[in-house]
Structures are given as C-alpha cells and as structure tokens.
C-alpha cells in the first residue's frame, strides 16, 4: 500500500510538472573559438595645468600635449599594446575631445570596448624639474555597459615620469585581466663598457638603462632571488673565479667563494643555500653552497658534466643539464639528488633550462641545424612529467639564456641575430620579438 501511495505521489508530482505550462522555453547555445582580437581602447590624455601652461589646441579632439604628457601616453600605449591583449584607437579618429565627459555613442562607432581618460596636472616649482610633481587622475569607462568602471588618483615626480606611466598602465591592465603585468619589472643583464663586462639594469621596455657598480674582465651568470632581493654572480679576478652575492636591500656585496676552479651560481634554494656548478678536476658537478660558511655539498656527480641547476618554484626539485646520455640534455632531480629523470629527447644539444613562475613549463636552448634556438616545454608539476612536444620559439641567429617574466607571459633572452649579442624580449608564444638593448647584452634575468 505504501508503495502504491508513493507511486501515486510520484505520478501526481510528475504530472503536475508536465501540466504546468512552461513559462519559457530554455535553450542552449554553445559557442567556441572566439575571434582572436585584442581589446580596443580609446586612450585619452589631457592636461589641466594651472595658469601658465595652457596647451595650444590644434583641433578640439586632438589637442597638442606638453612633452611629459606625450611621454606618459606613449609609455602606457606601448606597455598595453605589447601585451597583445590591447590595442588603441588612433587619436585622429576620436569623436570626443579628451576633456569632455564620456559618452558611449562617441565610441561605439569606433568599435571601442573601453575608454581611458587620464587628466594630468603639474604642480610645484616650475623652474626646477625635479621638484615638479605630476598628478594624474585615471578614469576607465566601459563602452558597452556605458559605465565608469575605474577611477584612481596618482602623483609622481616629473623626473620619474616613466615609472608613473608604467603604474598607470598596470592598473588599466589589472582592471581588465585581474593579473599583475611586468610593466614595472626590470631586466638585469651583463653588458659591456670600456672593454669590460658590467651589470646593467633596464626597464621591461628597454628604457632607462643604468649600470651597477660592478665590472670585471668577465661577469658570468647573474642569478636573482626575488624573495630576498639577492643577486649571485661570478667574476674573474686574474686567475681566480669569485662567486659573489649582492644584497639589493642594503646594496652590499659579499664574496662567497674564491677558487682557481670555476664556480657558477645556479639558483638560490633559500637565503643561505645556493645551488651551484662547481668544477673539480676538470669535471663539473652540481653542489649546494652554504653562502655563510662557504661549504660545498655535492648533490649530483659522476663522470659526465652536470651543470646549470635551476630550482622549481615549489623548491622541491631542480632542472639541470647532463651529458650522461652522450649529449647535453635536460634532467630533473629531487633536491636530495635522487629520482633523476630525463626530460628532453629531441636533438643532441639542450641546455639553459629555466622554469616558468608557475612551474607549469620550462624554456631551454636547443640546437637546430647548428644554431641555438629557444624552446618551450609544457610540464605537469604534480606528475613531474613533460606535456606534449617542445615548441620552438625563435628561428633567427643564435639565441641563449632565456628567462621568464614574473607573470610568466614573456621571455627575455640574448640573441646575435643582428650581429651583436643583445637582449631581446618575446611573448611566450614566440610573438612580438624585439631587441631591448642597442649595445651588447647577455644573460638577462627579471627583477620585480
């Protein structure tokens, strides 16, 4: 009886469901593969300088700007467009003067997705450049929604106008992607001055080159430890090799190891321990160097060469290069030195591995027809296995020493494709390759 009753209830309820008229017919649509187009921005900068600095207006929609404002707009535009995620509307096409209130109907015909209006104001003593401060008000509008979606005020020194522009660009990028771009990041590399090697720092766009007070006949393999803002590098002094650290917090140098044999910094495990390649009896092996006591502990050794250790982002494993198979190939091992696994199988020369910040890929240098090219290999950190085939990212000249940007979307490297070794940058799919230095550059590393 109970069964019957429940059946009845069930049938009644199902009947009820069917009998109730469907309020609306719910349909499903599946849409795949979006058109690969960047977001189109209307980027407008205008000045509101008090009194003396009134801008001469050439046309209502395109007023001429003072040089500092021009520089700001150029930096922002370059930052955003280089990401490949944004493009900007030619200012000649603007229907709306920059200082006018935003109206969606002025932007829809241009196909804009969003409009950024930046108001700049100079204040301070106008004669002295360094004392001048720039105030900026950045407002972002969404064209399709017709709404203001962001508003922020900034102020900065006129002497550091590019830094202010990078910060403005960062916030625009972040508003749409919720990710941190490397616009404020720097690239440290080994450059050349007066016949000697020296360490230089440039902005991510190649601008504002400055030199660190370190120079020697040879400067090798700068390695950066972001958490502690610590740099390790090797210099040559006569017949000796000196491994040094430079603490960026205090800007103090320290000699860690001085030896007749070559010691090259690999990667910091923590503030104290550094993975290094150390040469003993003409054989290179991987050691952990205690930077406080200068003591070395062998991790991976053998008859072959074992070089270039780079620690995984989770600090449990490291990649290194070994010729144990007969040719230099990339391997992975646990920090203990056990569980060694080969990861590259194509070609007979694969070196210089570098992890992506997320640990889901690594780049390396592989030889193709006698020229060195940069490859990207996807990696599964959980299984410690490679995913798919390596992807060749460069094709011209020789390309060396790749390094991932902090956000994992760009790679800097050195290349001699145009003769001299220079620092280059590209997106991780190999697009947008461009030189960042005019002069000699090698071994670039990213600094946040």
């Amino acid at each position: 009886m109970k069964l019957f009753l429940s059946l009845l209830i069930f049938s009644l309820s199902s009947l009820e469901l069917l009998l109730s008229p469907p309020a609306l017919a719910r349909l499903y649509i599946d849409i795949t593969s979006p058109n690969p187009k960047p977001l189109l921005l209307g980027l407008q900068v205008y000045t509101e300088d008090s009194g003396q600095r009134t801008a001469t207006v050439t046309s209502p929609t395109n007023p001429s700007l003072p040089s500092y404002a021009r520089e700001i707009i150029t930096v922002i535009k370059d930052d955003l467009t280089y990401t490949g995620l944004f493009s900007t509307i030619d200012e000649k096409l603007f229907l709306e003067p920059p200082s006018n209130p935003f109206k969606p109907e002025n932007w829809k015909p241009l196909g804009a997705d969003a409009v950024v209006k930046i108001k700049l104001q100079l204040s301070g003593v106008s004669n002295s450049l360094s004392q001048n401060t720039v105030k900026a008000l950045s407002v972002i509008y969404d064209v399709n929604g017709g709404l203001q979606i962001f508003k922020k005020e900034y102020s900065g020194d006129l002497a550091f106008i590019r830094t202010l522009a990078h910060v403005l660009a960062r916030d625009i990028y972040k508003r749409f992607t919720d990710r941190d771009p490397p616009f404020e990041a720097k690239i440290l590399y080994v450059g050349q001055i007066d016949g000697k090697k020296s360490l230089f720092i440039i902005d991510w766009d190649g601008a504002r080159q400055r030199r660190l007070g370190i120079s020697s006949e040879t400067v090798l393999s700068p390695r950066w430890f972001e958490e502690q803002r610590l740099l390790a590098y090797t210099v040559r002094d006569g017949r000796r090799w000196i491994l040094k650290t430079l603490d960026f917090n205090t800007m103090t140098q320290k000699t860690v190891l001085e030896s007749q044999s070559l010691t090259i910094a690999g990667d910091f495990i923590d503030r104290k321990n550094l993975l290094v390649t150390y040469t003993e009896a003409d054989n290179q092996d991987i050691y952990i160097l205690d930077t406080e006591t200068s003591r070395l502990k062998k991790v991976i050794g053998g008859f072959g060469i074992e070089i270039d250790p780079v620690i995984s982002p989770d600090k449990t494993k490291f990649l290194f290069v070994s010729d144990r198979s007969g040719s230099p190939q990339i391997y992975i091992a646990e920090l203990s030195g056990y569980n060694i696994k080969r990861l590259t199988f194509q070609g007979n020369y694969n070196t210089s591995p570098r992890w992506s910040p997320a640990g889901d890929a690594f780049v390396y240098v592989g030889s193709v027809n006698g020229r060195n090219q940069i490859f990207l290999q996807r990696f599964d950190p959980a299984k410690a296995e490679i995913i798919g085939e390596p992807e060749q990212l460069t094709s011209r000249g020789d390309n060396e020493e790749p390094s991932f940007s902090p956000d994992g979307r760009y790679i800097t490297f050195s290349s001699n494709r145009d003769g001299l070794w220079r620092i280059y940058i590209m997106r991780i799919d190999g697009s947008g390759q461009k030189a960042l230095t005019e002069g000699y550059g090698f071994s670039p590393v990213w600094i946040k």
């Binding site: 059946l7 199902s14 058109n35």
Partner: protein, 256 residues
C-alpha cells in the same frame, strides 16, 4: 522521486510478485498518461506560438483569433500592392472626423470595421517592414561572419525582399531553430578574446530575449578569468538581435 526509490529499496526482494506486477501496471499507466498529456501540450504550444506571431503582425493591444488575422492578410497584400483599393488608401482619422453624424448612424459597424481593418493593415505593414528591415540588417551583419552558412542563409533569403509576404513571414518565424542559429552567429561574430593560446576557459550566461529583441543577462557563470568574462559580457551586449518568435531564455555557453 528519490523518496520513491528509497522506499522500493527498503522493501524486501522476496515480497510477492503481485506487487511487482502492480508496480509495472501503474508504471505503464503513468507512461500512458504522460503520453496522453504530452500531445495536447505540444498542440497548445504551437497554437500559442502562432497566436503570438500573428499579434506582432497586427496590433499590440488586440489578441485576435488566428482566423481573424488570416482574414486581414489579403488586406495587407492588397494594401501593399494596389494602393487604389477603396477606403484603405485614405487616412483613417480625418475620415472619422469629417463624417457627417447622419451617415454614422446609417452603417457605423461596416465603416468602423473597414477603418479598423485599414488601421490594422497599416500597422501590420509597418511592422512587416520593420521586421524586414531588421532582418536585412542582420543579414548585413551575417555577411561579415566568417563562416558562410549558405544553407541557412537561403532559408532567410526573403529578408532582402522589399515586400515580404505575411505567410512567408509566419512560416519563417516558426523556425525557432533558425532563429537560434541566427542568434548563435550574431553572438559569435561579436565575441573577441585576445589570447590565442587555449587554456580551456569556460563561462556561460543565461540571457532573456524579449519579444522586441532586447536582451537581458539573467545569470552569469564566471569562467574564473576576468578578461574572458569581460569578453563574454561584451559579446552579449554588442549583439543586436532580431525579435524572437516568442520570449526566449537561452543559456549561451562560451568555450575558449
């Protein structure tokens, strides 16, 4: 339903065959009932759709029965094809104002009927023209869409016809699937996302397409990626959709 299955599980399997037979027979009964109820339901849906379409063609306020509307159909075509048709050509409202009171007494129903029919016809004509214009617009958008779907395009080829026939329109609007296809193409043509490297992102929106074609986002299921979500939202907001055969709720699922 869960309740039911739970109870049947509790029953020992050794219970008699008769209850099993009873259950079976009741199931058959229910299925039969379901089938019985389903058929009329389908019919009403079709009718319901037709009525709605007809109402868009004639007037908003009135809901005439299908027969009434079909009777106005020849009027519409005559109106469009032969402007010299009696009564209809003249503007209706002045006629009403200028009619002597005596005449109104004589045959008020006949005249009013004609005027009303004329009004309907004019309104219907305007509406048809509007729909045709919208469709032509969509067609213009469609030509921009990369993938050519010649088959479905031919179905909608009448859109470019300057004088669409109501019967064609009706049969056409009945093709809900055709409408959904158009919506899919329009949204897809408006969907841009800059990253070519596929990360398998997925997001969806539930949209309500109102009778006039205006779109409301009812539900948003985030992909977890802000830029991807923004691209989805923009694809919907940028899309101008033609009026649907009836108010529609569509879940649009976007996959990178």
């Amino acid at each position: 339903m869960e309740k039911f299955s739970l109870k049947s599980d509790i029953r020992p399997p050794t219970s008699d065959l008769s209850s099993a037979a009873l259950s079976l027979s009741i199931h058959i009964l229910i299925i039969a009932l379901l089938l019985f109820f389903e058929t009329p339901h389908k019919k009403t849906f079709e009718k319901y759709m037709t009525v709605r379409i007809v109402s868009t063609v004639s007037t908003q306020s009135e809901l005439p029965s299908p027969t009434v509307t079909f009777s106005t159909k020849p009027n519409i075509s005559s109106q469009t094809e032969s402007p010299s048709d009696n009564g209809i050509k003249e503007p209706p409202s002045p006629q009403l104002l200028h009619t002597p009171p005596g005449l109104v007494q004589k045959e008020p129903s006949r005249k009013e009927q004609i005027i009303e029919e004329a009004l309907h016809a004019i309104k219907a004509k305007k509406r048809i023209e509007k729909i045709a214009r919208l469709r032509a617009e969509i067609r213009g958008q469609m030509s921009e869409v990369r993938n050519q779907r010649s088959e479905s395009m031919e179905k909608y080829s009448f859109k470019s016809d300057p004088r669409p026939q109501t019967s064609d329109l009706l049969s056409d609007l009945n093709l809900a699937s055709g409408y959904v296809k158009i919506v899919t193409d329009i949204i897809h043509s408006n969907w841009t996302y800059p990253e070519s490297r596929g990360r398998g992102l997925k997001g969806s929106v539930v949209i309500l397409i109102e009778r006039n074609g205006s779109v409301k986002i009812k539900e948003f299921n985030s992909s977890g990626d802000r830029l991807f979500d923004y691209s989805i939202r923009n694809a919907i907001l940028k899309s101008t959709l033609p009026p649907p055969p009836e108010e529609l709720e569509i879940e649009v699922r976007f996959t990178q």
